[in-house]
């Protein structure tokens, strides 16, 4: 895969629509708009704007990088579904990149990425040495020397500033993974759906 492969990265895993078009080390165009809702309507027009700004067309892309969370369930699905449709239509791979990998991009190790998971919980992954992504109670988190992410403040820590905007990191990581087999992008939820099994066992049946 050429070093300057054109990759479009995007993310709607939180209250934003973010996109970046990269080619190797160069960021050709990028945009991030904060919004609490409306990402499903805004995402595709935003991607087309970023492409146009970078002087590229859909057919020029070598790959797509898509944020898979963890984060807002619906938001993650908006981007993942769009990425799967684009991938199928363009015949190029869509590569899922977690918020952890994106935030850790270009930061020193050992590093903990901590994301606010609400309800007294955080999503955590440690890098150098690496751990698996996990959902954890706030009080159970033991962080590494460096820390970043939206949940850092919950632990009373000052987060490291990101090395690059989220969508740029997603696009760059996707570019690095190009050429190796990649699964279809799938949301990284880390939290089970809220659903309780039916509690009515039904009547006792008599013989």
């Amino acid at each position: 895969m050429p070093f300057d492969a054109l990759v479009l990265g995007f993310d709607t895993s939180a209250a934003h629509c973010a996109a970046a078009l990269v080619s190797g080390d160069r960021v050709l165009a990028q945009a991030q708009e904060d919004m609490a809702k409306g990402q499903a309507e805004r995402l595709m027009p935003l991607l087309e704007e970023v492409l146009a700004q970078g002087g590229a067309a859909w057919s020029d892309l070598a790959a797509l990088g898509v944020g898979i969370g963890p984060g807002n369930f619906t938001g993650i699905r908006i981007s993942v579904a769009a990425a799967r449709g684009l991938s199928l239509g363009l015949g190029v791979p869509a590569i899922g990149v977690s918020v952890f990998d994106a935030r850790a991009h270009g930061l020193p190790r050992p590093l903990s990425v901590v994301e606010d998971a609400k309800r007294g919980m955080v999503y955590v992954q440690h890098f150098g040495p690496d751990s698996a992504p996990a959902l954890s109670a706030l009080e159970d988190v033991v962080v590494a020397e460096h820390i970043t992410g939206t949940g850092a403040g919950l632990l009373g820590a000052v987060p490291l500033a990101a090395s690059v905007p989220l969508a740029v990191a997603i696009a760059r990581i996707a570019a690095l993974r190009l050429g190796t087999p990649q699964p279809r992008p799938a949301p990284l939820y880390l939290r089970a759906p809220d659903a309780a099994p039916s509690n009515d066992p039904g009547p006792v049946m008599l013989s």
Partner: protein
């Protein structure tokens, strides 16, 4: 790409508004269309433990199955994506997580290929199916019973529907599911309650026929469900449990009440519209007792009874591709700002029956 007035559009349809992930390919011909493929990936087993469809579980499955369904539909139709002329997708009403996944996948496909995309009302998909399967002309009367919906529609055109009435609370499908749950029969309730009812005596228990004494075509099934709950609890309190025959008799009595209500309201809708055709969609068409009652009413009114094959009566994407084709032929198109809508009444002028809060009518 064919000219808009050309008949031979090849349309890819997508459906993900409830618990079926579906994709289909359809080709227009002579004012009608042939179905080239019709793929439905169900999720029944994912929801079985919860006694009903869990929206978040459904949305998760749709997001990771839709593209697989599309690939399967293209392969089964022996058509490449390049040979598709337009993409039609359910844009509502329904469980918003799933609808959104479908709309975003369609947008991705449309942006990547430059093909036109059109958002379809799921209910219009059901309501227009008799034109796909039987070439029925406008107008006709539709009894649409799908998932949480139950309404009578006078179908006047591809975008022209008049609602005559519908349920003001539960839909029949929900009532069947809840009765099955109350009686420990498992899910989905429709076929299980029907099978039990076959062994039972429909006259043993007298259950209410809600709203039967009121004029008009509105229906209510919530009270019927509650009556079944009370009946069950009374029997359990008296006997310490239910005998198999009790359960069969309750099912038969419940189904008879449902049939009486649907038949009488359908009779009124036919009288009011003088429609030449009564078409039904949804699980109601699969229930032999309900179907027989409706056939009888249609015959008495001199109307032709029409129930599309079950595969096209329950949720599917061929009906979405077809409804999309009907709108495409009228010149309709949607752009990349197409919204997924949890609520989207077919008849925009009728007063809301369900969910009439500040967000507007559900359907």
């Amino acid at each position: 790409m064919p000219h808009p007035t050309d008949d031979s559009w090849t349309v890819l349809g997508l459906e993900s508004s409830c618990d079926d992930t579906a994709a289909a390919v359809l080709r227009g011909t002579g004012g009608g269309a042939v179905i080239l493929s019709n793929i439905v990936l169900g999720q029944t087993e994912l929801h079985a433990a919860f006694g009903g469809v869990v929206p978040e579980i459904a949305a998760r499955a749709h997001a990771e199955k839709l593209d697989l369904a599309v690939e399967a539909a293209l392969e089964s139709a022996d058509v490449t994506l390049e040979q598709i002329d337009a993409i039609a997708v359910t844009a509502g009403p329904g469980l918003i997580g799933g609808v959104m996944a479908g709309v975003m996948l369609a947008k991705g496909l449309a942006a990547a290929t430059g093909k036109p995309m059109i958002g379809v009302n799921h209910l219009a998909g059901h309501a227009l199916t008799p034109r796909l399967t039987d070439g029925v002309g406008f107008p006709y009367l539709m009894l649409l019973v799908s998932g949480g919906h139950c309404q009578f529609l006078q179908v006047v055109g591809p975008e022209d529907f008049t609602r005559l009435g519908g349920t003001i609370d539960d839909a029949p499908g929900e009532a069947f599911d809840k009765v099955a749950k109350l009686l420990g029969l498992g899910q989905p309730g429709g076929p299980l309650v029907e099978a039990e009812a076959r062994k039972g005596d429909a006259k043993r228990f007298s259950l209410p026929r809600p709203l039967l004494d009121r004029p008009g075509c509105d229906m209510s099934f919530s009270g019927l469900k509650t009556a079944v709950l009370r009946l069950r609890d009374t029997l359990v309190a008296d006997q310490g449990g239910l005998h198999a025959q009790d359960r069969a008799d309750i099912c038969a009595s419940f189904q008879a009440a449902m049939a009486d209500v649907l038949a009488e309201k359908t009779r009124r809708a036919l009288a009011q519209t003088q429609a030449p055709v009564l078409a039904v969609a949804g699980g109601v068409a699969a229930n032999q007792v309900l179907r027989a009652a409706l056939e009888q009413v249609a015959a008495a009114a001199g109307a032709r009874f029409l129930a599309p094959p079950l595969k096209l009566c329950t949720d599917n994407a061929a009906m979405i591709a077809w409804a999309g084709l009907e709108r495409l032929r009228m010149g309709a198109r949607d752009d990349m700002s197409l919204a997924a809508r949890p609520r989207w009444p077919l008849d925009q002028t009728a007063s809301p029956m369900l969910g009439s809060g500040k967000k507007g009518a559900k359907a």
